[in-house]
């Protein structure tokens, strides 16, 4: 299969079941909402090293947020609800509570599984905190030097998918980066997904474990490192004419969201200088969610959607 002269490898991206939360951060201005969101999603590229994957999902207009101020929605993904709760408490507490003019709301109001966040952060108020109960939801008002920080008591958590990906193999670094940037731009227009790596792009894709260091959970994906092509013991997957590879990892609230994002990303990445589009997998043995590139592009889905997509609050 080809798209715009770029070969699409007949392979699949292998992704994993995760738990996700959506946090809506509002502030006096879009800039301050963005500042808090960027701070909250820092050091959240991979669950392997960061215990959480997070990214900015969308910028929200005042009419889309609970308090009618500009906002940003953030998606966070972890392996289980417990780990996600810990990350929510730490990150909301350290990066949103501290950021001027912000408030923090649950963005998955219909999720049946709920975890306490504001209900624990309230202790920062040293018993000077108070709460309001409106439409079945409790909100904590924590006094801070600037005024008050408002945070919802509980946040919804739902099943999600992490680790959807594409690999862009290009003739050189410049072409790979241009294609990846175009893909990221296209994918970030969609709701329900985030690209957790810096700028949405990964240059250091990994394989499970390591050949020579027993204690490593993950190590460099030697099959896609151009400098290792031809070296003994390396089964390179880089075709002739390709000299640089970049990966885009997608976490999403459900299967359709990831499919839409991968499709948009592939279409946008098929640009001059790109040799091949592929995807990372572990032979289908580790993750139960498989996204076949050919099926995606021909809009034939080999497996049924696993979850309903949630809408922003």
């Amino acid at each position: 299969m080809e798209r715009n002269g770029v070969r699409i490898v007949d392979t699949f991206a292998e992704a994993f079941g995760m738990r996700a939360a959506r946090v809506v951060i509002t502030a006096q201005s879009p800039g301050w909402a963005r500042t808090a969101a960027q701070s909250m999603t820092g050091f959240a590229t991979s669950v392997i090293g960061c215990k959480v994957e997070a990214g900015i999902e969308a910028e929200l207009l005042p009419h889309e947020t609970p308090d009618g101020r500009p906002g940003v929605s953030v998606l966070l993904f972890a392996f289980d609800a417990e780990g996600l709760t810990r990350q929510l408490i730490d990150r909301v507490g350290q990066t949103v509570l501290t950021c001027p003019t912000t408030a923090c709301f649950d963005g998955l109001p219909h999720a049946t599984e709920r975890v306490i966040v504001g209900g624990l952060l309230r202790h920062f108020g040293d018993r000077f905190q108070s709460s309001k109960f409106l439409d079945g939801q409790r909100y904590w008002r924590i006094p801070v030097m600037e005024g008050e920080f408002l945070v919802q008591e509980a946040f919804g958590v739902q099943k999600a998918i992490g680790g959807g990906n594409i690999l862009i193999l290009a003739k050189d670094q410049r072409a790979a980066l241009a294609a990846a940037e175009a893909a990221v731009d296209a994918m970030r227009k969609l709701r329900g997904v985030v690209l957790p790596f810096p700028g949405g792009i990964v240059r250091a894709g990994s394989k499970v474990g390591a050949r020579r260091y027993k204690n490593m959970i993950a190590s460099t994906n030697d099959a896609y490192c151009p400098t290792l092509r031809g070296r003994d013991g390396v089964s390179s997957q880089i075709p002739e004419g390709a000299n640089s590879v970049l990966e885009i990892v997608v976490d999403g609230l459900d299967r359709p969201a990831i499919e839409d994002a991968l499709r948009a990303g592939i279409e946008a990445a098929c640009s001059p200088g790109v040799v091949e589009i592929s995807a990372g997998n572990y032979g289908g043995k580790l993750g139960k969610h498989h996204f076949h590139l050919h099926a995606l592009l021909s809009r034939q889905d080999p497996s049924p959607p696993s979850m309903n997509r949630s809408s922003s609050s």
Binding site: P66, S130, K132, F133, L134
Partner: protein
Amino acid sequence: MIRLTLKEQPAVPLEAEVLSPDVMAALSHDAIRALPVFLGKRQKRVDDFFAVEGELSDELTIGGDATKVKWIGRGMTRGRVTVSGNAGMHLGAYMTGGTIEVSGNVTDWLGAEMSGGLIRVRGNAGGQVGAAYRGSPSGMTDGTILVEGTAGLEVGMRMKRGIIAVGGAVRDFAGLQMKGGTIVLRGGAELRTGAWMMRGTIVTLKPIRLLPTFAAACEYNPTFLRLYARRLGELGCAIPFEDRDGAYERYTGDASVPGKGEILVWNPRG
């Protein structure tokens, strides 16, 4: 829809807690007519006082001057009651859901100890709106009461949660012994507002005379009020919240309890 029209004003208050969608929704026309009401100590039938039309509906319309008809919508959980005219005491008391709308005035104990649903009164209300009955620890525990006109004494007495918004002036002791929830006084209040309040919020858009046991804290626009402004705005009750329009002076009290309540007094810009 079930339509009840009062034939004539009863000589003494008529206790009619059967005038509720929960009671009438599943009943036939004849069964509705036969429902019991109490005129003083005498048990009567609904059709002794009301002309009845319709059946099998959770929408109930009451016409005529029902000023002396008590307990309309008592404990209702669903449906809609529309009163075209006035209604008597205890309207919507103990209700947990549904909607009551009154085009005229109501008397005391509107929505007393309610825990859900919406009551909207286009005219004036009496005293003890959303309040706790005498000897009872808590008033309303959730739901919304909107009064477009004035209200009487002890609005929101011992209320714990929920919203009461009054368009006109209210009389003394609004928020007496309040335990939580929010009272919005668009037309201000008379004396001793928030007396003995322990928690909760009283928002007043007009300056009021505060008890000396309330301490001035600061002037600001709390973020939480934006949520209430949106909720009330959907119901046609606007409250200001933008910096460009002004700010709220925050007073905490009542220190005589001592309490952690607050009174927010709107101070328009300029």
